[in-house]
């Protein structure tokens, strides 16, 4: 089902060009890494795909529809910072998701939450930074969405949880869905990626299969990234 087309997308904030004529086509059944250094435009791109920012020029379409209310039904979004009401407990947040999203699978959410040892009765504001991130990810991944937009899902968690998250992404893999993961922690996730997109100063400088990069350059995606973005 899911297909994302981005045409000549530009986003300016005053004099700053955050995205510069981005063209991308993403197919279903893929796990895509959106990779770039800080400030390269990853979060801006994801926010536009999720309808939180409007483009200065160009278009995004998800299954032929511009981002908005309709696409939010099929797009599961993990923001780069907490967007949930912190006074709520884990249990209340599960109810919130259950109310908001038809595709929310409560059994899946409860399983992940218990596997990660998150307290159902704890308020979010009393949780550590890492636990907050884990909880948000559980809620997002428990949706049976067609598009997953994960903005830095592994940045703030310990390595064991990182492995758990990657396993969750793999076991959740669905040939009709697209998963887009933005990160700069490439070596941790590169083995799960189909496609790799390098974003540099708002421009797509590379869009390739991770396996083709390894085959053609004899380097890992992480090594190639360090070369392209050498400071």
């Amino acid at each position: 089902m899911a297909r994302i087309e981005i045409e000549n997308l530009t986003k300016e904030f005053g004099t700053l060009t955050a995205l510069d004529n981005v063209v991308l086509e993403l197919e279903k059944g893929q796990i895509v890494g959106l990779l770039g250094p800080n400030g390269s435009g990853k979060t801006t791109l994801i926010k536009i795909m999720n309808g939180l920012l409007t483009p200065t020029a160009g278009t995004v379409s998800i299954n032929g529809i511009n981002p908005g209310i309709e696409t939010k039904k099929i797009v599961a979004y993990l923001p780069d910072r907490n967007s949930l009401p912190e006074y709520m407990t884990t249990g209340q947040l599960i109810e919130l998701y259950q109310d908001f999203f038809d595709d929310f699978n409560i059994v899946k959410a409860e399983t992940m939450i218990s596997e990660l040892g998150i307290d159902m009765t704890q308020q979010m504001k009393r949780m550590s930074k890492g636990t907050k991130e884990k909880l948000q990810l559980c809620l997002v991944m428990a949706r049976e969405a067609e598009v997953y937009l994960l903005d830095e899902p592994i940045g703030g968690v310990d390595p064991a949880t990182r492995d758990y998250i990657l396993r969750t992404i793999i076991s959740n893999y669905n040939e009709d869905a697209v998963v887009i993961i933005s990160t700069h922690l490439i070596s941790d996730i590169e083995s799960v990626l189909d496609d790799v997109i390098f974003l540099k100063e708002g421009k797509v400088v590379l869009h390739k299969k991770a396996e083709d990069i390894r085959e053609e350059t004899g380097e890992s995606v992480d090594q190639l990234f360090r070369e392209v973005f050498r400071c």
Binding site: R167, S171, D194
Partner: protein
């Protein structure tokens, strides 16, 4: 066994090598059923499409075959398994001989050393 992937080599070729080794060593016995693509992908920590591609190649090499509804199975053809053993043994032997040549041992030296070593462990 743990899956360890080296940098800069396509992951699917590394999966093919590991699965081939598992078949040759009997970890996946002849006629045995392989875990599902998803379970293997999870175990290895790799993209399911990559695992699928590797398994398709193992099928092409006739080391495994799939039965439409019940999954993938290791071959029971002795000829294929024997060839596999020969190919692997040759590859390991070449690697081993290559290293010993590098430290200055001749073919005769190696043969002598192997003979002595086999006697020692006996």
């Amino acid at each position: 066994m743990e899956w360890n992937f080296k940098n800069g080599i396509p992951i699917y070729t590394q999966i093919i090598d590991e699965m081939t080794m598992r078949i040759a060593s009997g970890q996946y016995p002849p006629g045995g059923k392989l875990p599902s693509v998803r379970d293997l992908a999870l175990e290895a920590g790799v993209n399911p499409n990559t695992m699928q591609r590797a398994l398709a190649e193992l099928e092409r090499r006739e080391l495994v075959h799939s039965e439409r509804t019940s999954g993938r199975f290791v071959t029971e053809e002795e000829e294929i398994l024997n060839t596999l053993h020969e190919v692997l043994a040759k590859r390991y032997f070449e690697e081993f001989a290559d290293k010993l040549h590098k430290i200055g041992m001749s073919g005769e030296d190696i043969a002598e050393a192997v003979k002595r070593w086999l006697e020692d462990i006996r």
